[in-house]
Subunit: 147 residues, 4 copies
């Protein structure tokens, strides 16, 4: 995979400061590598659905963030990235003290980046895969009117 | 479609009180009919990604909630519903003063309910479709160990 | 939706002559309108999986063809269309004397067209929905190296 | 993962004899292991869309077959498997002398098996990933009326 913007890390750190929804759910993205990112949150009551498990929408959010920023690491500095579509399969109920998410680019294209992500629930250091996602992340060029 | 639990509305209202994540994002589910539900939120800064649009994860959450509760309206009182998988296509950027979501059951099955949902952004009463979702909502029976 | 190539019908008819796989399965595309297409096949033994139902891959093929050509009706004459991704939900087993498929563009974009398709099994004129699909059809421009 | 039917290989070989659509496209499933299967076909004109690439529906079929039979290897002898839904992302155009498909179970559940599959195009022994799929394979019990 090719990195078009060597300064991708600072670019993403700048983005993170403006990601209000990510902040609202308390997620921290702390690994930013070419073609992949990783992050975590402390699992709290605000993240739960009615049974006390991680809400499916929360899990989808972590997959979307890590897959999307994985694509951002690869695009040129004057391009941006939007989610075209994402599918999340829920493998196990999310319960534990932490949720961990990892996203990566499976295939880099000029206009589209096919990405995947996985979300794990960690309980006292024991990790369990709770969701797997597949997404199309679309590269937006300076002369695109959005998409 | 067949309603197995005539008291489905009260059941869902009871669920809503425990939906911490839904409360955390400020979503209100206010239409609960057999096989479909609808709700809304006031679009605020906390819902935004770095460009000021509705976060993809937030939009996925609204689709998941309305499609999931649409399935809940149909299942027997001793059964529950979990999301098996959901796919969300992002058609337009989410911007406006309100987000509105509608979910419905496309095909009711004994073990699985195929559902769809749409999310709209409303700006001064003018609605625009911003996302469409397709999901498999799984019925959990009393003697299932989850799934 | 905007039609960029008024001669879209002839263009598609020309394509159909080269669609070897479509011919191999015996599918006929006979409705070609701006933003939507429709076709059918006589359901025969060659289309079956081990239980005598329509094979899931066959059903996916019909969804892909009708959704893809729906997108082709809208793109400029010098552009082409490829499937970025498609998801098919199987609602009912496919059994009958005919399979009918309809595809349409849900949201036309410059680079991507969000499409849907449905597949029905017809038995003595009685139609039943057997599958619903959601797809991203990607517009390929003359200066794209494929995608 | 747990194998409930030690005779899974013979069971699948028996199924293959009745898979008319699979035979019609010329696909051979020749690796059947607990939780995974693999097969191939010689890429010919009948498999092509109008540009000479592997048809998207054909690629979906290979993903569906290998992921589905991967699930069959794990279920009890009196249960069967149907595809609940499948999503295929098309990463590269399919061109070469052979197509190879591999499917596996990502998470085995009592009622649902989350599976993945990949399809590769081989040209003179050089393999290229052309598609990745994610699917929900549903276990059908003897007392289910289908699903």
């Amino acid at each position: 995979m090719k990195v078009y913007n060597p300064d991708f890390k600072n670019r993403i750190i700048d983005h993170l400061g403006k990601q209000r929804f990510m902040q609202h759910i308390g997620f921290t993205l702390d690994v930013i590598e070419p073609g992949s990112t990783e992050g975590w949150l402390n699992f709290e009551q605000i993240h739960q659905q009615q049974k006390g498990f991680a809400h499916g929408g929360l899990v989808a959010t972590l997959a979307d963030i890590t897959a999307g920023f994985a694509a951002v690491t690869l695009v040129p500095a004057d391009c941006s990235v939007v989610t075209g579509e994402i599918k999340i399969s829920y493998l196990n109920p999310g319960i534990g003290d932490k949720l961990i998410a990892r996203g990566w680019v499976l295939k880099q294209g000029r206009k589209m980046n096919f990405c995947e992500a996985e979300v794990l629930a960690s309980n006292k250091g024991h990790e369990k895969l709770i969701a797997k996602a597949s997404a199309t992340m679309v590269t937006i060029f300076p002369d695109d009117n959005y998409k």
